[in-house]
């Protein structure tokens, strides 16, 4: 039981590190501008106009 909990505990931190790396990588790749570019225009598909 302690081993399983300890493993889960390690997984949490591993996921946190991976997620931060992905966010930083995304910022580095210029994805923030891409997200912004899409979001500041009305998404016609989202509202059902095509």
């Amino acid at each position: 039981m302690v081993g399983v909990v300890s493993m889960k505990y390690k997984i949490k931190y591993l996921i946190m590190v991976i997620s931060l790396i992905l966010i930083i990588l995304g910022i580095y790749r210029g994805e923030v501008a891409e997200v912004l570019q899409k979001a500041i225009n009305i998404c016609l598909e989202c509202i059902g106009i095509d």
């Binding site: 889960k8 992905l22 899409k38 989202c46 509202i47």
Partner: protein, 296 residues
């Protein structure tokens, strides 16, 4: 007490996420830099009041473009949020979850959702959100946000209806897709009156993503088996029909806290793990001798 707190948080979260009131008045949307960030819940970025991006919309629209096949920025964000809170976001922050909860308050005959339908949301996630925007593209390599286009009723409620009311140019272009989405929204409303959170449980790809993290998130549910009498009051009051004392951190749990409130022996708690052995913060002093996952 938790349920009152939750209502306050849900109300504020909905208002803050959609607080650009000028957009509602003018029939336009917010175009500032805050839209670079994702809101953790399902909240359409074409809602006139939305200050931030919908993560599911952003995930699809980035993948549908020709620059990137997948958005690691959005995936990293969802992993981070899921890792900290799991599906607490669904139960406390998501405006569309809040909307469904309010509808379920309408007095009517209530129905149980067949458990198998809870697997459907993974189908929507994989097919409509991850694969179709990348694979079904036009000749220049641009795809579409297929989940938003064909499935999502949140876009119709939060963006389609308010924009069609206030924006004459958009209203004049309404076609069959608009009526299809209106029908989906109407179905969602009817089902939400009869069944607790049907969209969250059967359709929502964001809930599907967060569900992967429920078993390993920092925030978690805990049942102290030394106190639990298996009276089933928790299960009867669970809005997503999980067996709390068997799997408190089930992928379906939205961490609403109903079970914590209703437990007559106070055996159920929720909180952040702070110790290496997996104890919750309050257990440091109580020392019930119980771990984070039902002592199993």
């Amino acid at each position: 007490m938790i349920s009152f707190k939750r209502r306050i948080v849900q109300t504020f979260s909905t208002i803050i996420a959609n607080g650009y009131f000028e957009g509602f008045a003018k029939g336009t949307i917010y175009r500032g830099k805050l839209k670079s960030f994702c809101f953790p819940g399902l909240n359409c970025y074409s809602c006139p009041g939305a200050y931030a991006s919908c993560p599911i919309g952003a995930l699809q629209s980035v993948a549908a473009g020709f620059k990137f096949q997948i958005s690691v920025y959005v995936i990293g964000f969802l992993m981070l949020i899921g890792n900290i809170w799991g599906r607490l976001i669904c139960g406390w922050i998501c405006p569309f979850g809040f909307f469904q909860e309010l509808l379920y308050k309408i007095p009517s005959r209530k129905l149980k959702m067949p458990k198998i339908l809870s697997k459907l949301k993974y189908f929507f996630l994989v097919l409509f959100v991850l694969l179709m925007p990348v694979l079904l593209t036009n000749e220049v390599g641009i795809g579409l946000p297929y989940f938003c286009k064909y499935v999502c009723p949140a876009g119709t409620l939060e963006a389609g209806i308010p924009l069609a009311i206030r924006n004459t140019a958009l209203r004049s272009t309404i076609g069959i897709m608009y009526y299809w989405k209106l029908m989906l929204l109407a179905m969602t409303i009817v089902f939400s009156i009869l069944i607790s959170r049907p969209f969250c449980r059967a359709v929502c790809p964001l809930g599907a993503i967060y569900s992967f993290f429920n078993s390993v998130s920092f925030y978690r549910m805990n049942v102290d088996e030394t106190k639990c009498t298996r009276c089933n009051i928790c299960n009867k009051n669970c809005p997503v029909d999980i067996k709390v004392y068997e799997n408190a951190n089930s992928p379906e749990c939205v961490r609403c806290g109903n079970c914590v409130n209703r437990c007559p022996t106070k055996a159920i708690k929720s909180g952040f793990i702070t110790e290496e052995k997996g104890r919750l913060s309050y257990e440091k002093t109580m020392d019930t001798g119980c771990g984070a996952d039902n002592c199993r």
